[in-house]
């Protein structure tokens, strides 16, 4: 239909890119975020919103299964870009140059649509095959074949359903490869267990570590983005990119002033505490103070990042939104979890 071509061209001008970061490759993730932002493209929040899937690094087997799961759910017109482990920003630019052209091609779009429709029928039945076995007493078939949640006592002693939810690795502003298996009652997390995908396999080869100042700005950007303040979050990311490019004297003071002056942000983050006495407002202020000290030239030691095993205990008792803010503010060490086992094979795997 002739209506399709101009609409495809119009839509392909600003593609929505879904980034899948790989644990152990923080530098590559930051490069991809920078390149996408510089082109004025949009970072998608979920596969339904995405036009292009960008995998930043070579994923291990578990993360690869997740990427396949996501790829099935992206509607046509779509394109998949896989970045190798040794990819640089220049490679990325070359690969991304071809994306709008591929998205605007109607024949390719139709082929992708048929592929997506047929693939979904075959492979989705294996996802919930286990659900058919253990509900003998259920007469009515539930949609998707999934069983209902069991009932248990909640924090007020009332009987409420316990929903087990895997908060997965590809969420906006979420640490790479982190999966938090929460048990939700209502919207309150009663128990949580965090793990990093592919932590048991050989890790990626060691790369140049990200400078502390850049990492600090990255965490601040994440907390602001999850808290719903995209302007300063984008400014913090821009400062992070400038630090990585070697210009540390960029306008940090302005950003710190804006963030510290905001009463709404402070009221919002104030009483979201983890079990250890820190709250998100305090954690954010700690990060900002460290950025100040670093910019003033004082020597700042590395902040101790909690591991995934520790993270689960800290999320218990929080609401789902508060848990999201805690994960962003605590900045769990996903790169360390993957690299710890990985001193065997380097590349050539």
């Amino acid at each position: 239909m002739d209506l399709t071509d101009p609409l495809l061209r119009f839509a392909a001008r600003v593609p929505h890119v879904l980034l899948v970061p790989v644990p152990g490759r923080p530098g590559l993730r930051m490069d991809t975020e920078q390149v996408v932002a510089h082109r004025g493209w949009w970072e998608a929040t979920s596969p339904a919103d995405a036009d292009a899937l960008l995998v930043a690094g070579r994923p291990g087997p578990e993360l690869d299964a997740v990427v396949e799961h996501i790829w099935r759910r992206i509607p046509a017109p779509r394109i998949r870009v896989d970045l190798d482990d040794g990819g640089t920003a220049a490679d990325l630019e070359v690969m991304l140059d071809s994306v709008p052209g591929s998205l605007a091609d109607p024949r390719r779009a139709r082929a992708e649509a048929t592929a997506a429709a047929t693939a979904a029928d075959v492979t989705d039945h294996t996802d919930h095959g286990g659900g058919h076995h253990h509900d003998h007493h259920m007469d009515m078939p539930l949609p998707g074949g999934l069983s209902m949640a069991d009932v248990a006592e909640d924090r007020d002693g009332l009987a409420l359903d316990v929903l087990r939810l895997p908060l997965g690795p590809v969420l906006p502003d979420w640490p790479a490869g982190l999966v938090v298996d929460v048990e939700l009652q209502g919207d309150v997390v009663t128990a949580a267990g965090a793990r990093v995908l592919d932590a048991a396999g050989p890790g990626p080869a060691a790369t140049r570590p990200v400078p502390t100042a850049a990492r600090g700005r990255d965490v601040v950007a994440r907390v602001l983005a999850v808290a719903g303040w995209p302007g300063p979050a984008a400014r913090a990311r821009d400062l992070r990119d400038r630090v990585r490019a070697g210009d540390p004297t960029a306008d940090l003071a302005g950003l710190l002033r804006t963030v510290r002056r905001s009463r709404v942000l402070r009221l919002m983050l104030r009483r979201i505490g983890d079990g250890h006495g820190a709250d998100v407002a305090g954690l954010l202020e700690q990060r900002l103070a460290r950025l100040d000290a670093y910019a003033a030239g004082a020597a700042v030691d590395e902040l101790q990042r909690p591991g995934p095993a520790d993270l689960g205990a800290r999320l218990a008792g929080a609401e789902l939104a508060a848990a999201r803010l805690l994960v962003a503010a605590l900045d769990p060490d996903v790169d360390g979890a993957v690299a710890g086992v990985g001193d065997g094979q380097e590349d050539g795997r």
């Binding site: 239909m1 209506l3 399709t4 609409l7 495809l8 979920s46 596969p47 339904a48 997740v66 990427v67 799961h69 996501i70 099935r72 759910r73 509607p75 046509a76 017109p77 109607p106 779009a109 139709r110 992708e112 649509a113 048929t114 997506a116 429709a117 693939a119 979904a120 029928d121 989705d124 996802d127 919930h128 539930l142 949609p143 998707g144 999934l146 069983s147 209902m148 949640a149 909640d154 007020d156 009332l158 409420l160 359903d161 929903l163 087990r164 939810l165 895997p166 908060l167 997965g168 690795p169 590809v170 969420l171 979420w174 999966v179 939700l184 009652q185 209502g186 919207d187 309150v188």
Partner: protein, 116 residues
């Protein structure tokens, strides 16, 4: 019968709007829709069906809202006639509000509005 003419026109406009939206999307789309997909949770398949109740604090707030909603129903016609009915009507309405407020204060002290 001609009180229903505006209603029929509105219904016609709505149906036409829906038909245009669906029709244009079907003409313009590039291929068949992939159905039968489970919801996206972040990359891993869901373990259980997500039909579950809300935490009880939402229901307590809903009951308080409902009480004040019924009070609003009484206040809407009252606003139209209070100017002609004088001070007595104002006093009666405020007495009604005070009774409702006493109920809210009782619920508050009993802990029904506790959020965390």
């Amino acid at each position: 019968m001609d009180e229903f003419v505006p209603l029929a026109i509105l219904a016609g406009v709505v149906l036409a709007g829906v038909a245009v939206t669906v029709g244009v999307s079907r003409l313009v789309r590039v291929g068949p829709v992939a159905g039968d997909l489970l919801p996206y949770l972040g990359g891993l398949p869901p373990v259980e069906h997500a039909v579950s109740r809300f935490h009880v604090r939402w229901y307590a707030v809903t009951m308080v809202f409902l009480a004040f909603d019924m009070e609003m129903i009484f206040m809407y016609p009252w606003t139209l006639v209070v100017a002609t009915m004088g001070t007595g009507a104002v006093v009666e309405m405020f007495l009604f509000l005070a009774i409702l407020l006493a109920g809210v204060v009782y619920a508050w002290r009993e802990g029904a509005l506790r959020w965390t």
